[in-house]
């Protein structure tokens, strides 16, 4: 073996088989510790993510500027002089008219603000309650955590739509009631998630280091746990919003959500079901349904990209 040792320094590396290769070197070069991880890849939306982002931005724009861009008022009739129920799309009413002769395009535009507004408000409430209590349970003693979790389990065992129906039927339907009901119902799901994430962070060494230092519970929650829990919770916020949109739309579809004559996507689907019966036009039903679908699928596509970026499973990318 030692005969290969005579290979001239700096020989071509290709000759490794049995040979000895030494890279050219400079005696003065010091070998510093190397940085560990390569830089993270830049965040880029995939094609599907871009499609999703387009829909989300589109609907947010519509929700905010709805009244400015709608061709008619929410309850205005495009053809006030005619008997014009379930008109097919035509100039003057680009998506046709609904069961009460109103312009569907304008009602979808107005409904966007209401559907998205109610859902976002409800999700924010769900997150506020769920995160505060969930992380609170995670840092509490096992007994307190046990009590809080079992009470939460009881809430979770109730079917969401049924619970919503009961509350709205008892208190009466209004937008604040709708927001609070959806908020409370989804808070128990957020509680479970926030508790799980909190628990995961609680067992990290840096939290134990803070405890060993003598830090109080408030410091541990606000400085050690929350900054690390925020990212996964924000990712889930988008997903949870989808469920709340579907929930609010379902309640409206059942007639217990947004009340007439106010427009909302779920109630629009129900109001116009008659159009299918008469075979007049499917647009009055399909248009609001498509609005719900494009918004929820759009959010989903964006969330997929974000969660893949923040440590999705390796197997998904292999």
């Amino acid at each position: 073996m030692s005969s290969t040792f005579d290979t001239p320094v700096g020989a071509h590396p290709d000759r490794l088989g049995g040979d000895h290769y030494v890279a050219p070197f400079d005696d003065n070069v010091s070998f510093d510790e190397l940085p560990d991880a390569p830089p993270k890849a830049r965040f880029r939306l995939t094609t599907t993510g871009k499609i999703g982002a387009f829909f989300v931005i589109f609907w947010l724009f519509v929700a905010v500027f709805g009244p400015l861009i709608a061709p008619y008022g929410e309850n205005d009739l495009p053809f006030p002089d005619a008997y014009s129920e379930f008109q097919v799309p035509q100039p003057g009413a680009w998506l046709g008219t609904d069961v009460q002769d109103r312009d569907i395009l304008s009602r979808i535009i107005y409904g966007a603000g209401r559907t998205i507004g109610i859902s976002v408000a409800a999700t924010v409430i769900a997150y506020f309650i769920g995160v505060v209590l969930g992380i609170g349970a995670a840092v509490s003693s096992p007994k307190v955590d046990m009590v809080m979790s079992r009470i939460n389990d009881a809430f979770l065992s109730l079917p969401t739509i049924m619970l919503g129906l009961v509350v709205v039927a008892a208190v009466g339907s209004s937008i604040p009631v709708l927001i609070l009901t959806a908020g409370f119902i989804y808070a128990s799901i957020v509680f479970r998630l926030a508790r799980a994430i909190g628990m995961e962070i609680m067992v990290m060494d840096f939290v134990e280091a803070a405890k060993a230092r003598g830090e109080g519970r408030w410091w541990i929650i606000t400085r050690e746990i929350w900054p690390n829990a925020a990212m996964p919770l924000i990712t889930d916020f988008g997903l949870r919003l989808i469920y709340v949109i579907l929930f609010v739309s379902s309640l409206s579809f059942l007639g217990l959500g947004v009340q007439p004559p106010q427009a909302d996507w779920g109630s629009m689907v129900r109001d116009n079901l008659g159009a299918l019966q008469y075979g007049a036009s499917i647009v009055p039903v399909i248009a609001p349904a498509l609005a719900i679908a494009t918004l929820t699928v759009g959010i989903n596509l964006v969330v997929d990209d974000v969660s893949a970026q923040s440590g999705g499973k390796l197997s998904n990318r292999l």
Binding site: F5, L16, H20, Y21, L34, D36, D205, G214
Partner: protein, 613 residues
Amino acid sequence: MAQQTDRTGDDIVFEARDLRIGAVREDGSELPIVKGVNFKVRRGEVVALIGESGSGKTTISLSALGYCKPGLSFTGGEAILLGENLTNKTTDELRPSRGINVAYLAQSAAATFNPSIRINEQVTESPVLHGTKTQAEADEKALALYHALELPNPETIGQRYPHQVSGGQLQRLMAAMALCGDPDLLVLDEPTTALDVTTQIEVLKAFKKVIKEEGAAAIYVTHDLSVVAQIADHIVVLYSGEVEEAGPTDVIINHPQHPYTKRLMAAIKPLPEAGQGEVSSDEHLRDDAALAAVGINAGYGGIGPNGEANIPVLRDINVAIERGKTVGIIGESGCGKSTLARVFAGLLPQTGGDILLHGDTLPRAVTDRSREQLQKVQFVYQMADTALNPRQRIRDIIGRPLEFYMGLRGKAKRARVEGLLEMVELPVQFADRYPHELSGGQKQRINLARALAAEPEIVLCDEVTSALDTIVGANVIDLLTRLRRETGVSFVFISHDLSTVSSFADEIVVLYAGRVAEQGSTDSVLSPPYHPYTKLLISSVPETRIGWLEEATETSEARSGISGTVQLTEKGCPFFERCPLAIAGTCDEIAPPRRRDNAGHIIECHRELSELG
């Protein structure tokens, strides 16, 4: 295409030809990670890629699977497996060859196995899935591999779940999983780094045997030259994505030429022997010990009716840490080393005995200790990755103890943070960085700086160098030695690595299954009489010498003791099962007596000190 043999007629399984891999930075510019690497792997040959973390060794090894880690991509050259270049293939084109032509063995077997599926099903999954073997053929192959890997109960081990076998066994089962599909090339990524020295021997031996028998080629990735010396035919030394030196193992180990290879060799710790440790000065000594444990009992699983833990771990531990001195605590995983450190820190209240700080009893639980008491005992965690909050800047991480214990704010705090960074030999600009922007060694320095910021009297170091590369770990030990000399801080240094402890500690405590096996000054522990367990540990420390593995596995300690696992026992000596000197009927029934010579050297064993050569 089918260029399976080169001009000399050798059977080349894999070849990297001017291989280049890069990442794209935030601003769109390219950052090269692998900068033109050449090497060949022939059939029946093990080629080791060696280098520090960040040298690109894992990235290069993954190219044999045609895979780049997220954010990286092939930017040039070829990775040729069985005559086919992999760098331009899609995942779908690569899938048929993975698991059949090439198999990958990850560092952690525990993370590789699915905990809820029986072992045999997972071992045989790949060839059955790829359709190269029927289930019966795969089962037969798996059984042959279990025998070849010298696993206990080879006929039935496949029916167990992953948590029912030991870590070393799982590591070998992972090799069976990789080899079940008869791959042409095996990629092993640090497969023994996370193991205890005793387990490492058994796994290395099995790997070496089975690679030879199967006639597979292998790429072995590691930072540990002593491991490489045992298993590799060729060594490729990497630094910063470039080959610095490459050649047969004998040449690289015995006649290194390149300054970087020489430096790697120099960073290898000397074997544990009496008289090699650096003697710390006595100038900081006082009457009472800085920290002392008196008759400590502790454990997990809640406290039972007798006032002891339901799962007792530590039993009757007595240690005194004098000021300015270092006590090393050593043992395999599961021996209670970290448990003891957690008792010292108050994170696990003991069920019996007392912790004394300057002779005063400390409250058991951390929540009952005063801020002054907490300040004096600081804990440094093993994994800097999880010990530093990823969302805090270095300035805040180091600054918090200053603010919390000393009330420093504003300019005074900033100046002190910079002073501490200088103390651990890091540039002051690091203050504004986040932990993930630092390397493993740098993070460990920050970890240390945070403990030192509290101006403690005792620092508890739990395996602080175990996760680090040889060179980086050696640098951290140098730093600790300097700090001990300059500050008079006492250290409790916990490690499973006897060579590290013996070069740094004044006193050594050898723990086995929660009991003290041997305890005394470093020199007395490392010279006869030995506890049989100490002897096993000493003989298991790998030497950077070709042929050491074969010699080591022939010693009587190794034959009886290596393949065991640490088990807590109710009665008798816990080391009974693995002890070459065990006395049946005595050692398994009666707790061993504590024997001491006049120099304060303690051995717990039924054998007389004169019998323990």
